[in-house]
């Protein structure tokens, strides 16, 4: 297996070198192509300026900021409970997951902890956001590579998860459900059984995607050996989540830090892939969805009884201090560095989003690839514009 990939990589490098030699001989003139800000592959308004030589990228520069909303500034004029409404909109496909690290940071500063039931429900909803987010990624990946069918299957099965999230929180996209000290509400009745059924469906969806996309020869040709990011480079650029694990770095914030979430109570596995190419990134995400369904299933069995809200004052004042809490969000490491000066709202919030770092590697990884591979690599890095632009 590895021989094959090495051979593909070598072949690719040789082809690129041959092209480069030819271009030097012919002195062909380059062309500057603006991919975006309105382009289907940038799903949002990312603009990538690429300098092309034929169809080969000589130089690429992503230009973000078309959707910069200034959340770091806005948090400075909000109270702590109000901030969750804002940060919901950062990674809009995995909203609930955005709330958790901020709430955890505030709780850490206040020295309180959510009751066990709230922790488990938080973890379940966190994983459901991951499933809905990454599930859509799997379908979107097909579209980026020209296969139209997977995206419809992804939207179909994501709907089940969104219904669950809606059932529990009342919001499909922006739940705003997490509170300092716990959760807004308990789960509705019947939710647990329905979730179990949906998880079964989603495992079927994963199998389907594996058959339809990952086992496809054309898909493998398009993604294997494309956009290889070695582990060292990935860490230097701060790539996180599946992008880092696809480079063989065994690092998952769900497992590797002590947070008041229920991950340590369940049996699950962190998947890594040694290749670091586009295929590896997609494949790791597929496995992550599977693992998430398993985590949710186990947590549903574990669900303790009790309150979902700790005793917190009605008007929340967070004591002076600083805290950085990051969690393993669908897109990667999302963290909030919260500086409190003992007021009603934070003094400064530094939002560390995953996509910002994940996309900052684009100038490095796009150099020398072909235009179709630009799309593959961008798709496999998986970014969400709100997550880059904050």
């Amino acid at each position: 297996m590895t021989d094959l990939i090495d051979r593909q990589k070598l072949g690719y490098i040789a082809a690129q070198a041959a092209d480069a030699r030819l271009n030097v001989e012919l002195e062909t003139e380059g062309m500057t192509l603006n991919i975006g800000p309105q382009h289907p592959a940038t799903h949002g308004t990312l603009r990538i300026i690429v300098r092309l030589d034929g169809e080969q990228v000589v130089w690429a520069d992503p230009s973000a900021g078309y959707m910069h909303r200034g959340y770091e500034k806005l948090t400075e004029v909000r109270t702590y409970p109000q901030v969750t409404t804002l940060i919901n909109r950062i990674d809009w496909l995995g909203s609930f997951a955005n709330e958790v690290p901020f709430i955890l940071a505030a709780e850490r500063l206040m020295g309180i902890e959510a009751p066990p039931r709230a922790q488990v429900i938080r973890t379940i909803l966190f994983e459901l956001s991951r499933i809905s987010n990454v599930g859509l990624f799997l379908g979107d990946l097909g579209v980026q590579l020209g296969a139209v069918t997977p995206v419809f299957l992804a939207f179909r099965d994501r709907e089940y998860v969104l219904n669950l999230i809606e059932g529990a929180t009342g919001g499909r996209f922006h739940p705003n459900f997490d509170r300092i000290g716990g959760l807004k509400d308990d789960l509705p009745s019947g939710w647990v059984d329905e979730t179990r059924q949906v998880m079964k469906k989603l495992r079927g969806f994963c199998d389907e995607m594996e058959d339809l996309l990952f086992g496809n020869k054309v898909f493998q040709d398009r993604t294997r050996g494309i956009g290889v990011i070695p582990a060292g480079v990935a860490q230097q650029y701060g790539l996180s989540g599946a992008n880092l694990r696809a480079s063989g770095v065994d690092w998952d914030l769900r497992r590797d830090q002590a947070l008041p979430l229920a991950y340590d109570q369940v049996d699950w596995k962190v998947w890594t892939h040694p290749d670091g190419d586009s295929f590896a990134r997609c494949w790791v995400r597929l496995q992550e969805v599977r693992e998430s369904t398993k985590i949710v299933d186990q947590l549903l069995d574990l669900l303790p009884s009790g309150p979902v809200m700790a005793k917190v004052p009605r008007i929340i004042k967070v004591p002076e201090g600083e805290a950085f809490v990051s969690t393993e969000n669908p897109l990667g490491e999302m963290g909030y560095y919260v500086v409190s000066q003992g007021e009603l709202g934070p003094f400064r919030v530094r939002i560390r989003t995953a996509s910002f770092n994940n996309i900052s590697i684009v100038p490095w990884v796009l150099r020398g690839v072909y235009v179709p591979d630009v799309i593959t690599i961008l798709a496999s890095l998986y970014f969400i514009l709100g997550d880059i632009d904050k």
Binding site: S63, T79, Q236, G238, R255, V270, A280, W283, E322, G335
Partner: protein, 227 residues
């Protein structure tokens, strides 16, 4: 069937301990000497180290050599309290005396203290030992420039660009300090505390604590009028 990938099977590793964090600080002290100004260790939680600004880049190098290969983020803090408050005041109320020295609150620096208005701070992680560390450095008030980390952590590139446009802090040695979010001709540095958030100045936030009357509690509810 050929498996689609090899996977690594690792045992669940131990989480970071405080002895590990102390060891990191000790090694930093031996490498950097007296450039380590202040250390704050929150037991079993996190570690902060403040270094002198001229040792900013060396700190990065030293940490990288210690195994902190993973670059998390880099940014800055403006410790000056906002002259505009939190935007919760009534704009029609008379403004406080601007040149009253007593009205200007002093800067309260965070966990590792500080002397200057701006501090840069960065976080790096060791993914093998599962420990993160936050580094802070005062930015000199007169020049507002620190060394760039781009040559230490390539990912610092964009973060420094962002910090530059948001705070006006320069990074010596950065190859391309353009704006990343803001238009090129944007004036001002939005995340500085003295940069007004116009939306808030024009129209203040209606309520600090969001204490709304519950249904049936208040007299002025719309529901009562319609019934």
């Amino acid at each position: 069937m050929v498996p689609l990938s090899d996977t690594t099977e690792t045992e669940t590793p131990a989480l970071a301990s405080d002895t590990l964090r102390e060891g990191i600080v000790d090694r930093l002290r031996t490498t950097l000497g007296d450039a380590v100004v202040e250390v704050h260790l929150e037991p079993n939680v996190d570690l902060w180290v403040r270094v002198r600004h001229d040792a900013w880049r060396e700190t990065g190098l030293a940490l990288r050599d210690q195994g902190f290969h993973y670059f998390c983020f880099l940014s800055a803090i403006d410790w000056q309290p906002s002259p505009f408050g939190r935007g919760e005041d009534d704009p029609s109320a008379p403004a406080p005396e601007p040149d009253d020295p007593a009205a200007e609150p002093e800067m309260r620096h965070g966990v590792t203290g500080g002397d200057t208005r701006f501090q840069v701070f960065a976080r790096v992680t060791d993914v093998q030992r599962h420990v993160g560390i936050t580094i802070k450095a005062d930015v000199p008030d007169d020049s507002s420039v620190v060394d760039s980390w781009v040559t230490v952590y390539a990912g610092a590139n964009w973060h420094e660009r962002e910090t530059h446009e948001m705070f006006g802090i320069g990074f010596a040695g950065h190859p391309d300090l353009r704006n990343i979010y803001l238009p090129t001709d944007f004036e001002g540095h939005p995340l500085r505390k003295d940069f007004p958030l116009l939306a808030r100045i024009v129209k203040p936030w209606p309520g600090i604590a969001d204490v709304e009357p519950l249904p049936g509690e208040g007299d002025e509810g719309d529901g009562g009028a319609s019934e």
